[in-house]
C-alpha cells in the first residue's frame, strides 16, 4: 500500500456515504420518489412488456396441423396430431373442402426453451406469445399443456406494440 495517494475524502468514508444514501433513498416515502427497488410480488405485480415471451398461446381455428412448428422446434417439445375433415365450401355451390383438424396440440413447457421459433414460422397465425407468466406447477409432468389450455391463453395476448420512429411499416405478422 506504499503507493496509496491520499484522496480528498478517504474512500472508506465515501463507501459509508453510498450505503447511507441508498438507505435514505429507500426510506423516503414513495410520493417523494423514494422507495425500494423491489416489488412485493404477490401483493404488487410488475407488468411485463408487450413483447415478453411468457407463454405460447394457440388459436386453434387457425391451425392446420402443418407441423411446421413441431419441425422447427429445437427441443422437440411440440406434439401435434390431427385428422382430415370435410368442411363446408367457401363459396356456395363449391365442393366441400378437405381441412386438417387438430386432435392434439401439446407443448411441453418443461422442455420448451422459449426461443419463439415456432411462433415465427407459423404461416397461419395460430401461435402467439402472451406475457402471462404465472403458470408454474408443482409437478414437472403438469407442465405439458394441451390445446384447451393453450387456447385459454389467447385472451392474454396483447396487440403488437407501436414501433420506434424510423422503422419500416411491417407487413403481415
Amino acid at each position: 500500500m506504499a503507493d496509496r495517494k491520499k484522496p480528498q475524502v478517504p474512500g472508506l468514508l465515501k463507501g459509508l456515504a453510498v450505503t447511507f444514501n441508498t438507505m435514505a433513498q429507500t426510506m423516503k416515502p414513495k410520493k417523494f420518489g423514494g422507495g425500494a427497488a423491489t416489488v412485493q410480488y404477490p401483493h404488487e405485480k410488475e407488468t411485463p412488456p408487450i413483447r415478453a415471451r411468457g407463454v405460447i398461446a394457440l388459436r386453434e381455428d387457425n391451425c392446420t396441423a402443418c407441423m411446421l412448428c413441431a419441425r422447427s422446434c429445437p427441443d422437440w417439445c411440440i406434439y401435434i396430431e390431427g385428422h382430415k375433415e370435410l368442411a363446408p365450401p367457401r363459396r356456395a355451390g363449391g365442393a366441400p373442402r378437405k381441412v386438417n383438424k387438430l386432435d392434439r396440440f401439446d407443448i411441453d413447457y418443461a422442455l420448451c426453451m422459449y426461443c419463439g421459433i415456432c411462433v415465427e414460422v407459423c404461416p397461419f397465425d395460430a401461435l402467439f406469445w402472451s406475457p402471462e407468466y404465472e403458470y408454474s406447477e408443482p409437478k414437472i409432468a403438469d407442465l405439458l399443456h394441451d390445446k384447451t389450455k393453450l387456447g385459454e391463453w389467447m385472451e392474454t395476448v396483447p396487440e403488437a406494440p407501436e414501433l420506434e420512429a424510423g422503422a419500416e411499416k411491417k407487413k403481415g405478422k
Binding site: G11, K14, V18, P49, R51, C115
Partner: protein
C-alpha cells in the same frame, strides 16, 4: 503505479518460490483443499483443487466441465435458426452478444449483409448486454471480497437494462433476436427515450460502485499487485477482453476489425491499464461499462431509418464454406468457426468462448497466492460457467 515493476517482481518471485517448493519437496505436508464444485465463490460449478502450505497456494488445478452441455455437438443436429436459440445460453448474462458473431459468420458464408438499421440496433443490444453482464460482475466482485451491498445495487440497476432488452426482444435472458440477414423485429416506440434514462442510471451506478468499492482502501489493498499477468503470458494463454487489456495490450475487437456493426460510427475509447493485476482487470471493466453507456447514448442518436431485414430465403441454406467471426463480448473474444456443407444446419461449429481461455491461466496465476486471493483472482478474471464449459 510507481512501484509496479517491484510488485510484478515480487509476484514473480513468489511464483518461483512456489515452484521451487513444489519441486524440491522441502515443505511440510501440505493440505489439499477442494474448492467447489459447489462453493459460494465459483458462482456455478467450477472446481478448483489447491494444494496449500498454510494458507499459501503451491499448486492449483481448476476442474471445469460440471456444466458441459455439448453445444458443439448439438449445433450439428440443428438448423441455423435453431442454433441461434442455443448459443444464447453460452454466456447467459450477455446472451445477445453470443448470437451476433454466429449470425455474422453465417451471413459471411451467405454473403449477405444486414441493413444499416439492423446493424445499429444490433450494436445497441450488444452494448446493452455488455452492460447487463458487467454490471453484475461489478456487484459480484463485492460479494467475492466480502462486501454484501454492491451486488444488490448491481441487480437493481441491471434490472433496468434487462427490462429494456425484454421490451425489444421479448426475452430477458435469452433474446434469440438476431436473424441471418437482420433482426426479428424493430424497436418498440419509446425505447430510445427510456434507454437514455437508463443509461444515466447506469452511469450513476458506476459512480456508486466506484465510491463503494474501487475507492475503498481495503478493496485496493486486496487487489493491487495480486494476480499479476504480464502481457506476454496473457497472449500466450489467449486471454482476451478486459483481462488482456488490463495487461496493457491495446486490443479490442470492436475497434480492430471490420464487422458490419456500428462501432466505427461512434466516438469511444478503448481502456487499458499497464498493471496487469486484479485491480486493473476490475477497473477496466468498470470503465468499459461507463464507456458502453456512452456508446449506447451516441448510437441512439443516430439510428438510421429503413428496413431491419435483408432479403433472405425463407428456408435458410448456408452455402458450403468456412468462416471465422469473433466479437468483443463482455467476457472477451467470443468467436465461432462455422463449417457449412450447404445444408440446413452447420457441419461443425467450433465455439471459441472467452472464459475457457481466461480460466486456463488459473494454474499459472494462482501459484504463491493466499487462499483469499484465489477468490479475488478468480473474481477478477471473471468467468461464466456456461462460457467455460459450453
Amino acid at each position: 503505479m510507481t512501484d509496479l515493476a517491484d510488485r510484478q517482481k515480487l509476484s514473480y518471485i513468489a511464483a518461483q518460490a512456489a515452484d521451487a517448493r513444489l519441486n524440491v519437496e522441502l515443505e511440510t505436508e501440505g493440505m489439499t483443499l477442494n474448492i467447489g464444485p459447489q462453493h459460494p465463490a465459483t458462482h456455478g460449478t467450477l472446481r478448483i483443487i489447491v494444494r496449500l502450505d498454510g494458507e499459501q497456494v503451491i499448486w492449483a488445478e481448476p476442474g471445469a466441465g460440471y456444466m458441459h452441455r455439448g453445444y458443439e455437438k448439438l449445433t450439428e443436429v440443428r438448423t441455423f435458426p435453431q442454433v441461434t436459440a442455443l448459443v444464447n445460453r453460452i454466456d447467459w448474462l450477455g446472451s445477445f452478444a453470443n448470437e451476433v458473431p454466429f449470425i455474422l459468420a453465417a451471413e459471411k458464408l451467405m454473403d449477405i449483409e444486414a441493413p444499416p438499421r439492423a446493424q445499429w440496433i444490433r450494436t445497441i443490444l450488444f452494448e446493452l448486454s455488455r452492460i447487463a453482464n458487467i454490471s453484475l460482475f461489478l456487484g459480484d466482485l463485492g460479494v467475492q471480497l466480502g462486501a454484501v451491498t454492491p451486488v444488490f445495487m448491481a441487480f437493481r440497476d441491471r434490472e433496468h437494462v434487462l427490462n429494456l432488452i425484454e421490451s425489444v426482444t421479448g426475452g430477458r435472458f435469452h433474446p434469440n433476436f438476431d436473424r441471418i440477414g437482420g433482426l426479428k423485429d424493430d424497436l418498440p416506440a419509446g425505447f430510445i427515450a427510456e434507454t437514455k434514462q437508463v443509461m444515466k442510471k447506469l452511469r450513476n451506478f458506476c459512480d456508486e460502485i466506484e465510491n463503494l468499492l474501487f475507492g475503498n482502501e481495503i478493496f485496493q489493498s486486496r487487489l493491487r499487485g495480486i494476480g499479476v499477468i504480464p502481457a506476454e503470458v496473457a497472449k500466450q494463454y489467449g486471454l482476451s477482453g478486459a483481462n488482456l487489456r488490463a495487461s496493457g495490450v491495446d486490443w479490442d475487437l470492436r475497434r480492430d476489425q471490420q464487422l458490419p456493426l456500428a462501432y466505427d460510427k461512434v466516438d469511444w475509447k478503448v481502456w487499458t491499464h499497464p498493471d496487469g493485476d486484479s485491480f486493473a482487470r476490475c477497473w477496466i471493466r468498470l470503465q468499459e461499462t461507463r464507456e458502453a453507456t456512452l456508446i449506447v447514448d451516441q448510437l441512439l442518436d443516430g439510428i438510421p431509418s429503413g428496413p431491419i431485414m435483408a432479403k433472405v430465403p425463407r428456408i435458410i441454406k448456408v452455402p458450403e464454406g468456412e468462416a471465422w467471426v469473433s466479437t468483443e463480448n463482455p467476457l472477451g473474444e467470443m468467436g465461432y468457426y462455422v463449417v457449412s456443407k450447404g445444408d440446413l444446419g452447420p457441419f461443425r461449429v467450433k465455439i471459441r468462448s472467452a472464459s475457457f481461455n481466461n480460466i486456463s491461466i488459473v494454474p499459472w496465476v494462482l501459484r504463491g497466492v493466499y487462499v483469499p486471493d484465489i477468490i479475488s483472482i478468480l473474481a477478477s478474471l471473471y468467468f461464466i460457467l456456461g462460457d467455460i464449459d459450453r
